[in-house]
Symmetry: C2
Subunit: 321 residues, 2 copies
């Protein structure tokens, strides 16, 4: 194994930065990821500082390259972590840490790039079977600190073009009276209500507070993590209802995005939140809402839907970017 | 000019079939389109019959190939015209008319393929300036008998991959109290309300009838063509209001689709309806709604928006398919 076959990879969201080492072995398309360490973003002032902390933990044998997936708009050399307000410069980070090359990629772009390399049962579970058309696009999306949306378009030579989008900011289309009331309630605060208004950690808290205020009480001040934890454990009806409504909105939105992408190649759901509530997906309305698309229900019914469970998936994508 | 440089092209929607001859001249990337004839679909029982009528009008010098853009899901050899219920078979049509090759392409896929060849001021007008990123996708969409949506993704070698989608069936997100009331009114009849429920000829009639019923009277039984004609002439307030609301919904939907496509390469609006009401676009809310996307308004503000005015645009796209 030579030095050039290893690189530092990272996936920096709004909450955590996950760092690891990707190693490409001969005759193997999917890189191995190891030495994974997660750093809470709030404990650092910059991406460079987080990377420095990781390099310090590595000790010796530090790879000479880094490929960093960041939650925000980015080019290879300059980017911005939207929720943290961090402006980042690849060449400056490389100089600071004595690296030969540093490259950025959008976090959902990285997750999308990983999808063709992921293994069923190991890295993802299939929520809904279908007939994936290998010549058609694949949609990749998921809630985390925001709602990321990306698209893979087959290039006709066995690979894909990756398209990063801002699909999380599409207007939200309520699918029930409850969703309408919730939307109008949020509109007062937010002005514009996008799918991301609901489909992120803070979105779960918004749904939960609305249900508490209008549905019969409960502790208003739970964090998104507490709500999903209590919902998964059972015994906290308002938390369970909030997560169920959240999953309905995931399904409806995923169906809309699949239609707009022509994603007959499949839909991959990822991000930080869904794996934690994976057991609640089955009994939820997610799949029913995914296919409830009127005259085109038959079209979305052919589309397989997968849930990415591997925590290092975006690191694989950053490595192959 | 050799025979192989000419082909029959057509764009068959739900209402009309537009046929022409595409000629590729040496040193010219955009084919010339001439001998255009429009046939009303309702006067024919099949696509083959329409093509026969066109070939008969041509008389001598009939090209040996045909490339037919059809409004519906299709492969190169088999397709379905959704609104007419016509199943079509390319090889059978070729045999019937003694052609060497017949090929289908989706009508919005064809319109999308045409976009890189269209000329500003000749084939399209720019509704809104922006900074088109040549490395980013281009969204192509428009209302006609249905609401077509396609996507061009740069292939990195100066060309594009074309993606046909069913984006017209995404759920509609009301952006005002009036749009909410209209949506709930339609939901009673349609069950599921998509953007196409409004963004097509029948959609204009639906908006108009709602305004007549709930807004103060008028002749309920106008056709979509009559409504747009009266609106363009002025003097029929309910028609004008219906078209204004229609254009607002075009703008809001185009903004959502641009976000979901990551269409920083631009948005092209086409289809049969918009060129007829082009003069009403300026005073409408179309562009205001296009950019009203909350935290990502700055993103959509950079995207240029064009209106395709060339009636033969999809024929150019069929020719280059």
């Amino acid at each position: 194994m030579t030095q050039t076959n290893r690189c530092i990879v990272a996936d920096i969201g709004g909450t955590n930065g996950r760092f690891g080492i990707a190693t490409f072995h001969e005759g193997q398309v999917k890189p191995d990821i190891d030495q994974v360490i997660v750093f809470p973003c709030r404990e650092y002032d910059s991406l460079s500082q987080m990377l420095g902390a990781y390099i310090e933990k590595l000790g010796s044998s530090v790879p000479r390259e880094a490929k960093l997936a960041i939650a925000g708009p980015t080019t290879e050399k300059k980017g911005r972590l939207t929720n943290l307000g961090w402006e980042v410069d690849a060449d400056q980070i490389a100089r600071t840490h004595g690296l030969e090359a540093v490259k950025f990629v959008n976090d959902f772009g990285a997750l999308a790039r990983a999808c063709p390399f992921l293994e069923e049962g190991v890295d993802f579970v299939t929520l809904k079977n279908g007939e994936a058309d290998p010549a058609a696009p694949i949609s990749v999306m998921g809630p985390g600190t925001g709602f990321g949306v990306a698209l893979l378009v087959p290039n006709g030579h066995g690979g894909y073009h990756t398209v990063s989008t801002e699909g999380g900011f599409m207007a939200f289309a309520p699918g029930s009276r409850l969703e309408h009331d919730l939307t109008e309630h949020l509109r007062t605060d937010l002005g514009y209500v996008s799918v991301e208004s609901f489909l992120c950690g803070e979105g779960i808290a918004r749904i939960y507070r609305f249900l508490v205020d209008y549905g019969g009480g409960g502790d208003r001040d739970l964090s998104p993590a507490e709500i999903t934890k209590l919902a998964a454990e059972g015994g906290a009806p308002a938390c369970t209802r909030a997560v169920q409504l959240f999953l309905s909105i995931v399904g409806s939105t995923a169906g809309d995005i699949a239609l707009v992408h022509g994603a007959r190649g499949g839909v991959f759901l990822g991000g930080g939140i869904l794996p934690k509530i994976a057991d609640m997906v089955g009994p939820s309305d997610l799949l029913r809402r995914f296919v409830a698309k009127g005259a085109q229900s038959a079209y979305v019914e052919t589309i397989p839907v997968h849930l990415i469970t591997a925590e290092y998936a975006a690191l694989v994508g950053a490595a192959v970017a």
